[in-house]
Amino acid sequence: MESLIKVSNLSKSFKNIQVLKNVSFEIEKGHIYGLIGHNGAGKTTILNCILGLMDYDGEISVLGKSPYQERFKLMQDIAFISDVASLPRFLKVKQLIELMKDIHPKFSEDKINEFLQNSNIKLQAKVKSLSKGMLAQLHLAIVMSIDAKILVLDEPTLGLDIINRKNFFKQLIDDYMHDGRTILVTTHQIDEIEFLLSDIMFVRDGELILNCPMEEVADRYTQLILSPDSLEAAQALKPIYEDKQFGQTIMLFDNVKLDEITKLGTVSTPNISDLFVALMQK
């Protein structure tokens, strides 16, 4: 499989505080990666390094180029929405589209007009007059209209209500998820994007603690709702996480043999948010 992004031993410090510690991973073509972490874990810093927005220690190769040295060349093939980026407020939507068409060689005016036809966004509207949801929709329409090799979304639905968040991901799935697209997305709403991910990466305190395909999560991690009187036997198998919910004890296991724990209670595959909570507290 072709790797579009190669990150090795990526480290980054801000004023003597190390926020990334020897992070290494590869992003393969046609995969959809979820980069998940708590606030301040280093997700945005990783993305900013990949996008060439800041200097770093270690090595990063994006489409064979050094992002920090050749950022503007890379932007022909990468589209991104940052968690804080905002579109130029003084322009009208139509002027913004014309600007994109003139500046970006891979931007399609036909595509964005098609996307916007199904929205409430008027071409003559000023960007500053749009609601938060419309802005997110417009920004997504813009990046989806770029024939990019990699799409990077950094908390793209931050600050949106649940309806707008659903609409955002629905539009992403309906209009973009074809032709082997490669997407790297960070979000706090893990449950809302879990179904579209092919791979998952967890970042904790600047370290990459999990990086695997989604199907491997099911093979590797097991959730157990304990039967009465099996606590000691379950604890002997060294769960990575233990919690009590509604009077029941729930445990998560990493690489445990199924036949060893099925007798201890109800076994299932943990969802990503449960796994996230478990690994963040490990």
């Binding site: 503007f72 932007m75 905002s86 407020r89 003139d102 500046i103």
Partner: protein, 315 residues
């Protein structure tokens, strides 16, 4: 060569600063038109009757003086804003997501400031002049009594062509001052407006203190002053005759002791007849080497600002 992206960035700059480049000049020109019309048709004294051609050229000269002053101030604020304006409302990450380098963007902002905006202001000078022509037509009762359109057009083109050459050279000469404000803007945003003056003043003060020659000579002040107004080398031989011409004209071009209402002393034909001489003299006596070195300094300022934008202005 495909320059679509470059044109788009320039267009974006003009849209972003449309208030100072289009709306304010349009209001000022309309105000000028209305006030002169009121004075002409309802004033007790009215505009004095002067030869029509004189009135037209005088209006051009007046609007030139007004708009050039307007432009000098506007460009200062343009550079104080434009080198950091992409950072407003977290917009910089959007601009950084585009396949265009920081150096090119800031270079195009500089090009817009030193070439495109002077051209736009020249356009407003011409619009104001056409307005004055319309007022003249109304006052004189049609072009059979006033100057014919083709005469006015010829005069307008002749004056504007000469003014264009002078404006472009003058604003290229002033480029280091404007890019100085620009580079400060990239680092300090709105503080650049004050710092553009404070930093040179502090340097001059330090020079005065450490040279133990207080209030006598400041090489820094002399250098800045020379860079501001020393575009033409006045020591060139043969200038005496030209200077005499300019002095004669400045006498004859004055609008009288009681201000611009009295146009009796103004001789349009003298100005028009000397126009080419003035322009040619200006071109041949510009300190080109100093101008080019100033452009080089401007380039360094723009490069520093672009590297700062590329390296340090982060999310």
């Amino acid at each position: 060569m495909n320059i679509t992206a470059e044109k788009a960035i320039i267009k974006k700059e003009l849209l972003e600063h449309k208030t100072s480049l289009f709306i304010a000049p349009a209001i000022l020109t309309s105000l000028f038109f209305v006030l002169i019309s009121i004075q002409m048709f309802f004033g007790t004294e009215g505009v004095p009757l002067v030869p029509a051609h004189e009135m037209f050229v005088a209006a051009y000269v007046m609007s030139t003086v007004f708009f050039v002053i307007y432009m000098v101030i506007t460009l200062f604020f343009y550079f104080a804003d434009s080198f950091s304006s992409d950072r407003k409302h977290n917009g910089l990450l959007f601009w950084k997501s585009l396949p265009i380098s920081d150096l090119k963007i800031l270079g195009l902002k500089t090009f817009t400031g030193t070439i495109i905006i002077p051209l736009i202001i020249l356009g407003w000078i011409m619009v104001a002049s056409v307005s004055s022509y319309i007022i003249g037509l109304l006052n004189f009762g049609g072009f059979t009594q006033f100057i014919a359109p083709w005469t006015a057009l010829y005069t307008l083109v002749e004056l504007s062509a000469n003014l264009l050459i002078i404006l472009v050279i003058v604003f290229l000469w002033l480029a280091p001052f404007y890019t100085w404000v620009g580079v400060l803007s990239a680092f300090f945003k709105k503080w650049s407006i004050a710092l553009a003056f404070v930093i040179p003043l502090v340097l001059i003060a330090m020079e005065e203190i450490f040279s133990f020659d207080a209030f006598q000579t400041s090489y820094i002040a002399d250098f800045i002053g020379n860079r501001l107004v020393g575009i033409v080398d006045h020591s060139v031989a043969g200038n005496a005759e030209f200077n005499q011409t300019m002095q004669d004209m400045s006498v004859k071009m004055n609008f009288g002791d009681d201000g611009p209402n009295n146009l009796q002393g103004f001789e349009a034909n003298l100005l028009l007849s000397k126009l080419e001489t003035i322009t040619w003299h200006f071109i041949t006596n510009v300190r080109w080497l100093a101008l080019l070195s100033g452009l080089l300094v401007s380039g360094v300022f723009v490069y520093i600002a672009s590297e700062y934008r590329r390296r340090f202005i982060e999310a």
